[in-house]
Point group: C2
Chain length 407, copies 2
Amino acid sequence: VTSTALFAARATGITGSVIDSSTSLLQAQTHDVVRLAMGSPAADAIPAEQFERLAAEVFARAGDGAFDYGPTEGEPGLRAQVLRLIADTEQRQVPPERLLITAGGMQGLDLACKLFVEAGDLVVVESPTYTNGSATITGYQGELLEAPVDGDGLVVAVLPDLVAAAGRTPKLIYTIPTFQNPSGTTLSLERREALVELAESWGALILEDDPYTPLRFEGEYLPTIEALAAGRVPVLGVRTFSKVLAPGLRVGWLTAEPEVIARMINAKQSMDTCTNVPLQRLVEAFLAEGLLPAHLERQRRVYRERRDAMTEALAAELEDIEYRCTQPAGGLFLWLTLPEAIDTQDLFDAALAEGVAFIPGPAFSASGAFANALRLCFASSSPERIREGVRRLARVVRRRLECGGSH
Amino acid sequence: VTSTALFAARATGITGSVIDSSTSLLQAQTHDVVRLAMGSPAADAIPAEQFERLAAEVFARAGDGAFDYGPTEGEPGLRAQVLRLIADTEQRQVPPERLLITAGGMQGLDLACKLFVEAGDLVVVESPTYTNGSATITGYQGELLEAPVDGDGLVVAVLPDLVAAAGRTPKLIYTIPTFQNPSGTTLSLERREALVELAESWGALILEDDPYTPLRFEGEYLPTIEALAAGRVPVLGVRTFSKVLAPGLRVGWLTAEPEVIARMINAKQSMDTCTNVPLQRLVEAFLAEGLLPAHLERQRRVYRERRDAMTEALAAELEDIEYRCTQPAGGLFLWLTLPEAIDTQDLFDAALAEGVAFIPGPAFSASGAFANALRLCFASSSPERIREGVRRLARVVRRRLECGGSH
């Protein structure tokens, strides 16, 4: 099965995907594998001891309704903490009626598409982009308009031509502007402004998926598109604690106009009634104790060191090979483009046998492009393991090139 | 706004519902209210101390991936425990490929409808039925065929006529066969058999929503429709730990044919990636330690006592008023039908002011029927509180009747 077929199958919700099969392959591995595939925070970056202490407090307060149904819009205490967090980090006041607590960022994307994507609606997506995001759009029968990404993120300047060629304006623009998944690139301030203007001219909504902004380890803070737009265009702001705290909690949030939030609360009630209560309270306690800044500080230091370890190892191990890689200033991922003779999907099994895992490029595009690219997660392995993983990757790439390409 | 309008608005996902407004009214109350409205287990029936101890163990094992993404199909350990639970309680072996762990029963219903309900599909629902269940069906643009419920559950014998009148066969039959929400009635064995035969003749799926079977406190165990059907018709079995353990955990499961489960895993990946991991492990630990049977034993004893307290209080307090109420042999709810002069939606505010809350009947039917009925939860209040609540209810009913009906 080709990756395009796999992607399409996944996008229509019929069967597995490249990532699914990679996951099951990974899970089946018993030998030593450097896991650069999945997008989880480092196990040693999860504040497990703080969680343990705070969970004991949450679980001791059962009488407070910690195990009962909670309000669909989220626990009042967590909601207050999230609004304070936005005020502290973005210097803007968000009123409570613009906030919904979600089961991670994924539910935010699902809710956004459930409400706004109807059969045949045109949706701009970055190419490459986050697979589950674009799959959700096609799951609601939206049509993807893939727009290229370069070192400064989405190439906004080509959008008018792409839209003209499509013959109709998009209803929604799905973007991961900061430390994009999978490319690791960040949309520049100028492009953010231009994107808002284009959306305004088209009457389009912007779906801003931003799990990574708090994980910036160099360069200057950029305002979110939501903050920049300042009400000029409707923005659905999808955020999550998955990358800054832990994905297993399944706690995230979404901000939007009050009437949109009201409809989303209604939709969420028929999806899961409410987000799990004890772990909302755990996150609330973590924020209320002011533990987040120091935690993020440590995470950023660790991730910068690992990003450096990875880019330096790539430079050292692939020095005789033509490659390009992005230089993320935050987040978890970088994007590696290998010589055209390499098919990263073909490479996957050999790399796994060699002891290194990545996600092949075609998994990040509905059109199956990026055959010679791949995504590497630098966040979840130690520098030593990253260097070993890159050495292994370089070995299979070199072997493949010596045998005259992919086959 | 009439309840029909509210229900329709809710069903199409536009705005709130009777239950939503009841909930916010309830939350706004500061005076003493006997809460017979919501469908939560009793606070004192939640095994909080066991949860506290087990959570400490789960949270101490962060290295095991307790905070990372988990498999979309559910944690392997919980999956094994659920399969054992089914084997123990239903004496049947379910292979793992027929099982999906869900974010509560609600996500099971949503997944079922997402996969099987398309615009215009006819879906049989009980009348009255669980609001969020029927709202999910109409959310996917299914058309409801409402079928009556009597003391033995869904009146299966009238289905052929209803279907003939509709001019087409249903694609799906949504049923809560055991201790139905809201009526508290249970589908008899004969009717279960007849329903399976009808579904078979129509080529329809059965969506069996069964949160309550473990909470039977009298009468004989009845096999689930899924067990009875034994593969003759496809059954989507939606189950949850919400009522037997605690709803705040948001952990449930769904059983179906392997190819359906494979598609649901794919759909769930674009909905919430996976169910929260720590609380799956908490439930796993609870089951693995064999704590469920004694917990259920206690719950059943408490709920029977409360059902008795409620039916006896109704008989005593409403003795001069013509009313009917169901006699549930398990579960959480009973259904009270008052004289036709009473409009239970009109009654709601006065009852709240008097200090008792219930859910008005029209909230449980898309057609807004059951104007003079209401749902009472007997599970979550003590016998003393139940008696006090029924006294208050009787007072407002009597006052309303003396003033010549609703207005």
